[in-house]
C-alpha cells in the first residue's frame, strides 16, 4: 500500500501491474475488501481494483474509486491493453473541481506592496492547486479521470457582474524569495512587475488567467511554470495592469504534460488592482 505519509514522490506516473494488484489483494487480511489503496490524501482515499480480463480483446480492466470519509464519491472503470495500468498524479490548476465556473485566479495580497515610478520588482506568491489524477495510455497521452481539492475553495467577482470575471480566490503573502508551500494544496508562483507609470502605485491583488496552464513539480512541491509578467500602465487617464502568463517549463522539474506549444494568457485588469 502506498501512502502519502510514508512515501516520497507522489507526483508522477505510477504503473500498477494487474497480477501484483491481484496478489496484493489475495494476501489482504480482509478478503471482502478487494480495494488496492494507492494513496491517501487527508480524508480522500484512492484505490484501484483489478476487475478482470477480457479474453476476446485481451484488455485488462481496473476499477478506480475515490472515497471521501469512507464513502465512494468517484467510481470509474479503466481499461488497459497491457497487463498494467498507468495512473499519473500531478498538481493541477484549481479549475477542474468546478469546471466552467472560472478561468482566472485572484490573488489578494495580505501585505500590499508599493512600487515607485518606472521601477521593477520580482516577487513570489502562493496559489491554490488541485490534485489531478490522470490515466496514461502508453505513449498516447493522458486523460484527467479525477480531481481532488484539499484547500479551501473560495471564489470572487473581479469587475462588474456585466463585464467582470469569476475568479478562484486566494489570500497570500508576498515573498521576495522562494518559499515553502503546503504540499498538495499550494504552488509557488514567481512574478515580475514593471511600473510603467509616472506615479507610485500600490498593488493589492492580481488576476492571473489560468486556462490551459500547467504546473511543474519537484519533490512533491508544485510551481506555476513559465513567467508571469505584470505591466502597469496608464490608458485614457486610468491605471491598468496587464497580466501576461507565458506557460513553459522553466525549472529543473517535471511538467505534468509536455505542452504542444507555448501557451500565452493575458488579462487586462481595468477595474483596479
Amino acid at each position: 500500500m502506498l501512502e502519502t505519509s510514508n512515501r516520497k514522490g507522489v507526483y508522477g506516473c505510477h504503473s500498477f501491474p494487474f497480477l501484483d494488484t491481484l496478489a496484493d489483494n489475495s494476501n489482504s487480511d480482509s478478503s471482502n475488501n478487494k480495494d488496492f489503496t494507492l494513496f491517501n490524501f487527508r480524508d480522500h482515499k484512492i484505490s484501484l481494483t483489478p476487475e478482470g480480463e477480457s479474453i476476446k480483446s485481451g484488455n485488462h480492466l481496473f476499477r478506480y474509486k475515490r472515497y471521501l470519509n469512507n464513502e465512494v464519491v468517484v467510481d470509474k472503470l479503466l481499461t488497459s491493453s497491457s497487463p498494467s495500468v498507468n495512473v499519473c498524479i500531478f498538481p493541477a490548476v484549481p479549475l477542474y473541481s468546478t469546471p466552467d465556473l472560472s478561468r482566472h485566479l485572484y490573488l489578494k495580497f495580505k501585505s500590499p506592496f508599493v512600487v515607485d515610478p518606472h521601477q521593477k520588482l520580482d516577487f513570489y506568491a502562493k496559489m491554490p492547486i488541485e490534485i489531478g489524477i490522470f490515466k496514461e495510455s502508453h505513449k498516447k497521452g493522458i486523460l484527467l479521470i479525477d480531481c481532488i481539492s484539499l484547500c479551501k475553495q473560495q471564489y470572487i467577482l473581479y469587475g462588474t457582474p456585466e463585464h467582470g470575471a469569476i475568479c478562484r480566490y486566494k489570500e497570500t503573502e508576498v515573498y521576495t524569495a522562494e518559499s515553502e508551500t503546503a504540499m498538495f494544496e499550494e504552488a509557488l508562483i514567481g512574478m515580475h512587475m514593471h511600473n510603467d507609470t509616472d506615479k507610485i502605485i500600490q498593488i493589492n491583488m492580481l488576476v492571473i488567467p489560468l486556462n490551459d496552464v500547467m504546473l511543474e513539480h519537484r519533490n512533491d512541491n508544485a510551481y506555476l511554470s513559465g513567467k508571469t509578467e505584470i505591466k502597469v500602465g496608464s490608458s485614457f487617464g486610468k491605471d491598468i495592469a496587464n497580466v501576461q502568463l507565458i506557460n513553459a517549463k522553466t525549472r529543473d522539474s517535471q511538467l505534468s504534460q509536455t505542452p504542444s506549444k507555448e501557451v500565452t494568457q493575458e488579462f487586462l485588469m481595468d477595474s483596479g488592482f
Binding site: 475553495q153 473560495q154 469569476i166
Partner: protein
C-alpha cells in the same frame, strides 16, 4: 442561300413588334443581370455567414438575388418597349393587398431583426418575458425570423411572435455572470441576535460558491410580528444560483438549529371580550 441567313428587322412577340437589335439588347441585359445577381448572392452569402444567424443569412441572400433579378427583368422589359403600365397597375394593387395581408408578418420579421441586433436574449438564456404577455419563463430555444421559442421550465414549448417578445419586458437571468441571493429568515425575540448573525455569516464564509466579493451582507432588517427578520444577501455565480440558494436555505436552518437558535412559528395572542387574556397559537 444568303437570303435564308438574313436577320429580320423586327420580331413579333405577344402581338408586339420588337426590333431585333432591341431584343438583342434585352437578352444581354437579362444575361448581365443574372450574372450580377449570382455574384451578389455569393458575396452576400459569404458576408452573412459570419455575421448573421443562418436563418437570416439565407433570407438575406435570397432577397438580394431575387431583388436584382426583379430589377433586371423589369429593366429588360422596359428596354424592349413592351408596355408595362398594366403590369405596374396590377402590381401596385396586388402590393397594397399583400401589404395589408402580411403586415403582421413584416412586423414580426422586423422585430426579429431587432431582437437579433439588440440581443436582449440569446439562444440558451433563461428568461422571464412579462408585461405585454402573460408571464413566460424558460430557456430560449430559437429566435426565428417570425417567432421565438421558449422551453418553459415544465418542459413544454411556447412559441411567441417576435413583435410580442420585443415589446415585452424581458428579464434575462444569465446576462450577468453573478447574481445576488436574497433570503429573509426570522429569529425569535428571545434569541441572541448577534449570535444568529455570526452563525449565518460564518456559514456564508464556508460555502465555496458564495463569492468573497461583493461582500455578503447579513443584518437585522425589520421587527416582525413574532420574529426579528434577518436579511441575508450574498452574490453567487449566475450559473449555480438556484443550487446555492437551495443549499443555503437548508444549511441556515440546520446551523441555527445546531446553535439552539429558534425560528419561531407565527403567534397570535387572543383577548376575549370579558378581559381574560388567552395565550394563543
Amino acid at each position: 442561300m444568303f437570303a435564308l441567313l438574313t436577320i429580320p428587322q423586327s420580331i413579333t412577340i405577344f402581338g408586339q413588334q420588337i426590333a431585333t437589335l432591341t431584343l438583342l439588347q434585352t437578352i444581354i441585359t437579362l444575361i448581365v443581370g443574372f450574372i450580377v445577381a449570382y455574384v451578389a448572392k455569393s458575396l452576400t452569402s459569404k458576408y452573412a455567414k459570419g455575421n448573421l444567424p443562418t436563418d437570416y443569412s439565407k433570407k438575406l441572400t435570397l432577397l438580394v438575388y431575387y431583388g436584382i433579378i426583379a430589377i433586371t427583368v423589369i429593366s429588360a422589359l422596359a428596354q424592349s418597349g413592351i408596355d408595362l403600365t398594366g403590369l405596374f397597375l396590377a402590381g401596385g394593387f396586388a402590393g397594397i393587398v399583400i401589404g395589408f395581408a402580411t403586415q403582421s408578418l413584416f412586423s414580426n420579421l422586423i422585430s426579429g431583426i431587432f431582437l437579433y441586433m439588440d440581443k436582449p436574449l440569446k439562444v440558451g438564456d433563461p428568461v422571464l418575458i412579462t408585461g405585454k404577455l402573460p408571464d413566460v419563463s424558460g430557456v430560449v430555444v430559437t429566435i426565428g425570423v417570425l417567432t421565438s421559442r421558449i422551453r418553459i421550465f415544465d418542459g413544454t414549448y411556447v412559441t411567441l411572435p417576435n413583435t410580442d417578445v420585443f415589446s415585452s419586458e424581458i428579464h434575462n437571468y444569465s446576462a450577468t455572470i453573478a447574481r445576488r441571493i436574497q433570503i429573509t429568515i426570522g429569529v425569535g425575540y428571545d434569541e441572541d441576535l448577534d449570535k444568529a448573525i455570526k452563525v449565518i455569516t460564518n456559514l456564508l464564509a464556508d460555502t465555496p460558491l458564495v463569492l468573497v466579493e461583493p461582500t455578503p451582507n447579513v443584518y437585522a432588517a425589520s421587527v416582525g410580528e413574532y420574529a426579528i427578520n434577518i436579511n441575508i444577501w450574498c452574490w453567487v455565480p449566475s450559473s449555480v444560483m438556484f443550487q446555492v440558494q437551495m443549499q443555503l436555505i437548508n444549511q441556515i436552518k440546520k446551523h441555527l438549529n445546531d446553535n439552539n437558535i429558534k425560528i419561531p412559528l407565527p403567534r397570535r395572542i387572543l383577548q376575549i371580550a370579558d378581559g381574560n387574556r388567552v395565550a394563543g397559537t
